[in-house]
Every structure is written in structure tokens, then in C-alpha cells.
């Protein structure tokens, strides 16, 4: 391989990105050295097994990926703003919409949600950490290795260019000879292993580590949503892993699972992909429902309406989510019976989703609604997501889908589901739980400016796409002619996209501003919350709760506040057993990154060496004795007093 094939060349934009990457890396290295922060970084973050810090690292990664995916989106929207634009050529555009899709779903939405669940779930159930803290760190570093591997593709070797769904035979070596789709297959495998382990970890954590008295039906709704999500992850992700493995065999070792010759079946890939892909949609939307349930209930000052039916409907959604994958390709020619089944199953999902929607509306009923920033996102979610939902039902009608399929109508639909659903939810969740992690709230005024930019720009950016779709504009076209008449609506959509970018800038600025100027919260309960995470201090001490709370009903903390009681009564502070920090997961992530990288370029000897190192690291772990450490009572008492702000 020659160097000019190794590095992506010939594009001014790519060269600019190269320079930026080098400068940013240098800045980070110099900054860390100058401020003598290497030790801090290693001790406090890279080796941590603390679920809160891992959660924060997930969220920071997700924000970075939101930036990357957002830049992709802006480039695409600029290219489409007017007919016959020449900002991007076809190949570059194809790479960008592929990375936009993969990054936004797998490296932005997923880690953002996993980050929030890491931070919140152990606190909500009154636990000291997740069930397998070290495994949790492995999950994060594998995700991070996969994300980085995927992200370097655009400067080294070339990005995948077959769409985020990587349909065969287009994604096969024959039609996509660059290493781009090798990156796709390997980066997603590596991060997918991490996600699968997160699923296992959280199922065990939620089932086994709840505070005394917290039965399943007394769990906060967010924890419920994460339990169900984790179960979906456990069933869906193995399918993706295997599909990607077969893809890797096809591309690297010349097997013929999905190719056009020797009995390869291109539609097998489509089936496997969507057997994972549709449940994946619910993996990113159910936690969002959980977040909204918490926020709406908190700021309406009311308990969640119809708790039981909320749980039942989530279980129903999770089951149905595995029965609808073929609606992604009605147009494959499955005939009336096949399409009919998947059409009805798909529409059936709207029933439990509708139940949830009405329950949220009736949580507001007779409430005392406060319009805080997180609540604004939750309230913007309801009308926007409803549009996403009803257009989903329209798409579910098979005969009509023959006209919507692959058009901008579909693009509009899933952005209406994913942005008000997932993105608004994680932003709302970030604002909501920020004081729990850092001990101060994000500035409300800047938060609201960001909200209005995001909420309005979102409508401007995506509403026109419904009409473009019905007018015959397909997705993934890098250009169009003036005669099509697509120009004006595309221009409106592009303006909306830039509005979203402005909103995002305000959002990030708000984090910086609040770090510097926001008043510190000493109560631990700045929003007058309902669930256990608000019962401990902010920022949360390493051990979460000095005393494990006892729970007797849903919203126990809320009722304890009403009755002026404590959840910690009758218990003494005891020694706390905590897991040790370890560099193992980080090292494993680094080695996995190189294993993936070498496999991408088919550099067999380094790849084999990395693979062997992975096995050695795993073997070493099984011989390692690590009994964790104990925090002594005096130390806990001291920390508690400091956090409470008294010196007595």
C-alpha cells in the first residue's frame, strides 16, 4: 500500500481537517503537560470504574460525536441548499451521509443514553455502583475504541460510503473496494461488544441491586425503561455482531455470504441488519420515554399518570419491536401476506406508544407546571414526536410505503422521531441531572435561548422534507436539477439546519458559562425531585449513599419530603466496600483499537499480534486478584459533613 492511498488526499476540506486534528491533538498534549494533568487524567478518569465518571465520559464523547455528526449534516444540507451545488462531489457526499447516520445513531444517541443511564440508574435504585463496575469500564473503552476507529476513517483510508445500513452488494468488496466499509464492520463490532456488555450489566444491576423495599413496580420509570432497553440490547446486538462478522468475512477473507455470486444473498444482510436495526430504534427511544416521564412528573409536581400502563406499554413495545423489521423493505416484493403481517405489526406499536402519550398529557392534568429548560424540551417533544408517530403509521401502510420508501418523507419521519424523541430527551436529561453530577445547574436563561433555537429550527429543517418526499425527492441524492423544483424547500431546510447548529453552540457555551458562574447547589435536590438520586448529595460522593435508603413506595423520596421523614432512619453508617480503579479496561480498549485498525488494512501480522495481546489481557484478568477496597466509617462521616457544608 502506498502512502497516498493510506491518507485520504485531494480534498481541501480533508487537508483542513488533517491540520485541525494535528493541532487539536498537540493542544491537548501540551495542555495536559503544561498543567501537569496527566496523572489526574489517568487516576481520575482513564482508570476509573465509578459509574458516574464513566457516564460523564460517555456523555462527553456523545457531545463530541454530536459535533462531528452535526458538521456532516451541515455539509450535506449546504450541498442540497440549491440545485447543482458543487460543494461536495458524489463520493464525498456518499461518505458523509454514511458517517452522519452511523455516528448519530451508534456513537451519539447510544452513548448519550448509556451515559445518562450510567449516571442515574444506580442512584435511582439506591445502589453504590453497577453490578460489574470493571466490566462497565471495559464497555466504555470498547465503545470509545470503536468510535475513534470509525472517526479516523475520513482521513486515513477513506470513510464507508454505502449508507449507514450498508446494503449488499453495494457494500461488498466488488462495489466498494476502499477500506471504508472495513472500518464500518470493525468499528461497529468493537463498540457493539461494549454495548452488549452494558446491556448485561444493567439487567443484573437493576434486578439484583435495588434498595431494600424497592420492588419492580416501585422503580422509577427511567429505571424501568433502562431495564427493558437492556433486555432489548441483549437480544438485538448479537444479531448485529454476527451480521458484521459475516460482512467482515466477505470483505476480508473472500467468503460469499452477501455477494452476488456463489449463492450469496444480498437480502439476507438487509434482514439481519434490520432484525437488529428496528429494535435499535427502541433502544434509543425507550430511555427517552423514561427521561420524559421523570421530567414531566417532576415539573408538573405530580406523580406519573398510569404508572402500570406505562410499564405494560413499554414491555409491549419491546416485544413488538422484534416483529416489524421487514417494514424497512416492503418494496422487496414480499407479496401481500408478508407485507400485510409486518404492516399490521408495525401499526400495532402505535397503540402502546399512544397510551404513553396520553398518560404524559394526563400527568400534566391538574399539575403545577414549571417551565424549566428540561421541561421545555419535554413539552416540545410531545407535539413534534406525535407528528413523527403518525407519519410512522402512514409509512406502515405497505401500499403507500411504495411511494414513501427511500424518499425525503422517510427522512423527515425518522428525524421527527429521533430528534424530538431521543435528542431532545438526552439534552433534557443532561440539563436535569447536571446538578446531580457537578453540583450546580446549567444557566436557565442561556438554556432557554438554546432550546428555542433548537425547537424552532428543528421544525424548519425537517418539516419541508415531508413535502419534498411527496414531490418525489429521494434520499441520498447528492444533487438535483433546477427543473425538479426541489430548490426552495431545500433552502428552507438548510436554514433550519444552521439554526440547529446555533442552538447547539448556545448549549455548549452554556456548559462553559455555568461552570464559571452558576451558583453552587448545596441541597442535592435543586428541582424538588421525586426519586432516590435526589436523596444524596450533589456532587455525589464516590459511594453514592452513605446509608442505603429504604423504600416503601414509588416516589418514596417525594413522600418522605412531604412527611418530613428520612429514608435513612434507623441505620448507622457502616464501612463501604468499593471496587478498585484499574487501567486494564483502558489498555484493552487501546489494543482493540489497533486490532481493528490492522484488520481494516489487512495487515495480518500486526493484527495477529494485537489479537494475541487481547487474549493475554483477558487471561491475565482471570488470574488477577482484586478484592476492592473499604472506605472507613470516619472517612465517610468526614465526607458527609463536608458535603453537607457543616463543620460539626
Amino acid at each position: 500500500m502506498k502512502w497516498d492511498e493510506f491518507f485520504v488526499t485531494g480534498e481541501p476540506m480533508i487537508y483542513a481537517a488533517d491540520i485541525c486534528i494535528v493541532l487539536a491533538s498537540l493542544a491537548i498534549i501540551i495542555g495536559l503537560t503544561y498543567f501537569k494533568k496527566w496523572g489526574y487524567l489517568w487516576r481520575e478518569w482513564l482508570t476509573t470504574v465509578d459509574h458516574k465518571k464513566i457516564g460523564v465520559m460517555y456523555i462527553i464523547s456523545a457531545l463530541l460525536m454530536l459535533f462531528r455528526g452535526g458538521v456532516d449534516a451541515l455539509l450535506m444540507r449546504t450541498q442540497l441548499a440549491m440545485p447543482n451545488m458543487t460543494l461536495l462531489n458524489a463520493q464525498h457526499y456518499n461518505e458523509i451521509f454514511t458517517t452522519h447516520g452511523v455516528i448519530m445513531i451508534l456513537f451519539m444517541a447510544m452513548p448519550f443514553i448509556i451515559g445518562l443511564m450510567n449516571v442515574v440508574v444506580p442512584l435511582q435504585i439506591g445502589a453504590r455502583d453497577v453490578a460489574f463496575p470493571r466490566l462497565n469500564a471495559v464497555s466504555f473503552w470498547l465503545f470509545f475504541a470503536g468510535a475513534m476507529l470509525f472517526n479516523i476513517s475520513f482521513v486515513i483510508g477513506g470513510s464507508p460510503d454505502a449508507g449507514w445500513s450498508a446494503y449488499f452488494p453495494l457494500a461488498s468488496k466488488e462495489f466498494s473496494p476502499s477500506v471504508g466499509n472495513n472500518y464500518y464492520s470493525l468499528a461497529l463490532q468493537i463498540s457493539g461488544i461494549g454495548t452488549l456488555m452494558t446491556g448485561v450489566n444493567f439487567v443484573v444491576t437493576i434486578l439484583k441491586m435495588r434498595a431494600p423495599g424497592m420492588t419492580l413496580m416501585k422503580m422509577p420509570m427511567f429505571t424501568w425503561s433502562i431495564l427493558i432497553t437492556s433486555v432489548i440490547i441483549m437480544f438485538a446486538f448479537p444479531v448485529l455482531t454476527i451480521a458484521l462478522l459475516l460482512m467482515m468475512f466477505d470483505r476480508l477473507f473472500g467468503t460469499q455470504f452477501f455477494t452476488m455470486t456463489n449463492g450469496g444473498m444480498d437480502m439476507l444482510w438487509a434482514n439481519l441488519f434490520w432484525v437488529w436495526g428496528h429494535p435499535e430504534v427502541y433502544i434509543v427511544i425507550l430511555p427517552a420515554f423514561g427521561i420524559y416521564s421523570e421530567i414531566i412528573s417532576t415539573f408538573a409536581k405530580k406523580n406519573l399518570y398510569g404508572y402500570k400502563s406505562m410499564v405494560v406499554s413499554m414491555v409491549a413495545i419491546s416485544l413488538l419491536s422484534f416483529l416489524v423489521w421487514a417494514h424497512h423493505f416492503y418494496t422487496m416484493g414480499m407479496g401481500v401476506v408478508g407485507n400485510g403481517f409486518f404492516s399490521i405489526a408495525t401499526m400495532a406499536i402505535s397503540v402502546p406508544t399512544g397510551v404513553k402519550l396520553f398518560n404524559w398529557l394526563f400527568t400534566l392534568y391538574k399539575g403545577r407546571i414549571e417551565f424549566t429548560t428540561p421541561m421545555l424540551y419535554a413539552l416540545a417533544f410531545i407535539p413534534s414526536f406525535t407528528i413523527g408517530g403518525v407519519t410512522g403509521v402512514m409509512l406502515a401502510i405497505a401500499s403507500a410505503d411504495y411511494q414513501y420508501h427511500n424518499t425525503m418523507f422517510l427522512v423527515a419521519h425518522f428525524h421527527y422521531v429521533l430528534i424530538p424523541g431521543t435528542v431532545f430527551a438526552v439534552i433534557a436529561g443532561m440539563h436535569f441531572w447536571f446538578p446531580k453530577i457537578f453540583g450546580f445547574r446549567l444557566n436557565e436563561r442561556i438554556g432557554k435561548i438554546a432550546f428555542w433555537f433548537i425547537a424552532i429550527s428543528f421544525q424548519v429543517a425537517f418539516m419541508p422534507l415531508f413535502f419534498l418526499g411527496l414531490n418525489g425527492m429521494t434520499r441520498r441524492m447528492y444533487t438535483y436539477s433546477p427543473e425538479t423544483g426541489f430548490g426552495p424547500l431545500n433552502m428552507i431546510a438548510t436554514i433550519g439546519a444552521f439554526g440547529l447548529a446555533i442552538g447547539f453552540i448556545f448549549l455548549v457555551y452554556n456548559i462553559y458559562y455555568s461552570f464559571r458562574y452558576s451558583p453552587r447547589d448545596t441541597t442535592g435536590d435543586p428541582w424538588d425531585g421525586r426519586s432516590l438520586e435526589w436523596a444524596t448529595h450533589s456532587p455525589v460522593p464516590e459511594y453514592n449513599f452513605a446509608i442505603i435508603p429504604t423504600v416503601d413506595k414509588l416516589d418514596a423520596f417525594w413522600f418522605a419530603k412531604q412527611d418530613k421523614k428520612s429514608l435513612f432512619e434507623g441505620k448507622k453508617i457502616e464501612e463501604i466496600h468499593m471496587p478498585n480503579n484499574t487501567g486494564g479496561p483502558f489498555v484493552l480498549g487501546v489494543v482493540f483499537f489497533f486490532l481493528g485498525f490492522f484488520l481494516v488494512f489487512s495487515w495480518w501480522i500486526p493484527a495477529i499480534i494485537s489479537g494475541v495481546v487481547v487474549l493475554i489481557l483477558l487471561a491475565m484478568r482471570s488470574f488477577e486478584r482484586d478484592h476492592g477496597h473499604h472506605i472507613h466509617v470516619e472517612e465517610i462521616v468526614e465526607t458527609e459533613q463536608k458535603l453537607r457544608g457543616d463543620n460539626a
Binding site: V336, V351, V355, K366, G367, F371, G472
Partner: protein, 324 residues
């Protein structure tokens, strides 16, 4: 005031877009299949508008009535577990809506998957539409002619497009005549369409298949049966035959413009499933006749035409396009 901002924008956009624009392509059908789909879409739009209205009315009511700023200083929201009856209502009504839509979905899907009503008596005109990077080949087995990147069809007659691909999955779509269907390399899918107005329609590949995807369009020209017969006759007498070499060159050229030939590629490069049938021909003649009678018959025709034709004459309208 707050929170109605996005809603207001939505309504404004709706109003502007629905009133100001010319009819949207998909909702401006020119044949029975597209008509069924357009009607289904409009039906679902009305049902969905009803659902949106219910949600939005409740939403606006809750947000205006129960704001903290409107409540008394000492107002404490009541604890409400839920309501069996209300929850049953908003389960059962959606179930009924879904049942209705399911019936609509299955019936309309059945309708667009068969020969359109009123056209059952006449035998459909079979046209093989195959894609290769990045063009469409149209083979008329009955007429023994082939075109590239444009297809002429008679009005008021069912046209059965048999779709397959020499490469990545593509999707064959003429929005004003009917919805799309995939063309794949390992099977043949069928799409039946009828054009009821003599006009030119834009067709395209709507499934992403690489660099030339955006340009992968074709023209579907519907013409009266008489005009159509005349065109077929002209092609057969004037266009060159499609040789295997010529076809391979076509497959390997990314963009070729329009082409017209007086024979098809079906004989030497048969479609995936029928290819298998043809290899069975010597062993079991009867099954062959049932499965692929049209293609075997036409192969014979092609040979005759090729023999008796003047390959050099290039003086007709459509072949001139081929140089573009």
C-alpha cells in the same frame, strides 16, 4: 404563549405549503396504481390529522390551564394514580383505528400487487427493466426490442415490469404511475403499472447504489397504442441489434444516455430466475413453457429480426437520442 412556537411554525408551514405549491408528484397520479396509493395516503393523512388534533387540543388545554404561574400560592397538585376507564379508552380507540388502517393497508396492498381493476382482460405487456451502474435497460421480449434509459409504453394497458439488477439493489420508481419496487441481482420482482394519460413521466432509481445514483433517471413515455405500435415498428426496422459485446460495453459504461436496439439481451444474459428455467429447457419442456413462455418465444423472434434487418440505418427519432 410558550411552547406554542414550534406548533405555530408547523401550522404556518403547512398552510403555506399546501396552498401555495402545485400538486405534489405522488399526489398527482396518472394511473390506477398511483391513484390507489394517493387515495390511501390522503385517507391516512385525514385520520392522522384527527389524531393530531385530539393530542394538540389536550396539550394546549393542559399547558394553558395548569401552569404554575396561574396556580394559587398554596395549590398542591393531587395524587392521581390513573384511571382505568380513561386508560381503556385510549387503548381501545387506537386499537379500532389500527384495525381500520390494517384493513385499508392489506386491501390497498393487494390492489397494487395485482393487475389494476378494469384491465384484467387484456394480457399485460411484459417489459424487463434491469439496472446496471448507473442506467436502466428496458427489454421488450414480445416486440424484441431494447431501450436504455427510456421506456415507451402504450396507454390504458397493464405493463408488467420485471425487475432485476446487474449489481447493487436498485428501486424502480415512476411516482406518477405507482410506487416502487426493488430490482435485485438474484431474483426477479414484478411491478404492474398502467398509464391512463399519454404523457412523459419521470422515473428513477430510488435506492442508493453508489456514485452515479443521483443521475440514475429515465423517461417513461406513455403513448396511444397506435403511436406505440408505430414506434415499435420503427425501432425494429431501423435500430441496430444488441450484440453481446455491445451489451457488455453498456454494462461497463457508467453513463450512456439513451440507446435503442432491435433485439434484447434476454437471450444471452437472461434474468436471474428465468435463467434457471431456461437451463432446464432440454430436460423438461413442459415446465419451461409454463414458467417462461414469453422469453423463450421471443428469443426465436429476435433471431429472425436480426437476420432480416438493416443494421446501419440510424435515421429514426429515438436513436438520435442515443448519441447524447
Amino acid at each position: 404563549m410558550k411552547n406554542k412556537g414550534p406548533l405555530f411554525v408547523v401550522f404556518l408551514l403547512f398552510a403555506v405549503l399546501l396552498s401555495g405549491c402545485s400538486p405534489l408528484t405522488v399526489l398527482d397520479p396518472k394511473g390506477p396504481v398511483a391513484k390507489t396509493q394517493s387515495d390511501t395516503i390522503m385517507f391516512s393523512v385525514f385520520v392522522m390529522a384527527g389524531i393530531l388534533a385530539v393530542v394538540y387540543i389536550l396539550y394546549i388545554y393542559m399547558l394553558t390551564k395548569y401552569r404554575a404561574t396561574k396556580a394559587n400560592e398554596d395549590y398542591v397538585p393531587p395524587h392521581i394514580e390513573g384511571s382505568k376507564w380513561l386508560e381503556l379508552i385510549w387503548t381501545i380507540i387506537p386499537v379500532i383505528i389500527v384495525i381500520v388502517l390494517s384493513v385499508v393497508s392489506v386491501r390497498s396492498t393487494a390492489a397494487v400487487e395485482t393487475t389494476p381493476k378494469g384491465y384484467e382482460n387484456e394480457k399485460p405487456l411484459v417489459i424487463y427493466a434491469s439496472s446496471s451502474n448507473w442506467k436502466w435497460h428496458f427489454s421488450y421480449p414480445e416486440e424484441g426490442i431494447e431501450t436504455v434509459n427510456y421506456v415507451n409504453i402504450p396507454t390504458n394497458r397493464t405493463v408488467e415490469f420485471r425487475l432485476y439488477s446487474y449489481g447493487p439493489i436498485t428501486s424502480f420508481w415512476i411516482p406518477q404511475l405507482g410506487g416502487q419496487k426493488y430490482a435485485m441481482s438474484d431474483m426477479v420482482t414484478k411491478l404492474r403499472l398502467v398509464a391512463e394519460h399519454a404523457d412523459s413521466y419521470l422515473g428513477r432509481n430510488s435506492n442508493f447504489n453508489g456514485k452515479g445514483y443521483a443521475q440514475m433517471e429515465f423517461e417513461a413515455q406513455a403513448m396511444s397504442p397506435a403511436d406505440y405500435r408505430k414506434w415499435v415498428h420503427d425501432v425494429k426496422t431501423t435500430a441496430p441489434a444488441l450484440t453481446k459485446e455491445e451489451f457488455n460495453t453498456l454494462l461497463n459504461t457508467p453513463f450512456v444516455g439513451r440507446k435503442t436496439y432491435s433485439s434484447t439481451h434476454l437471450s444471452f444474459s437472461p434474468p436471474p430466475m428465468e435463467g434457471k428455467d431456461m437451463s432446464n429447457m432440454n430436460m423438461d419442456h413442459k415446465t419451461d413453457e409454463k414458467d417462461s413462455s414469453s422469453s423463450t418465444k421471443t428469443d426465436g423472434m429476435n433471431m429472425n429480426h436480426m437476420d432480416g434487418m438493416n443494421m446501419d440505418s440510424m435515421n429514426m427519432d429515438h436513436t438520435q437520442h442515443s448519441n447524447n
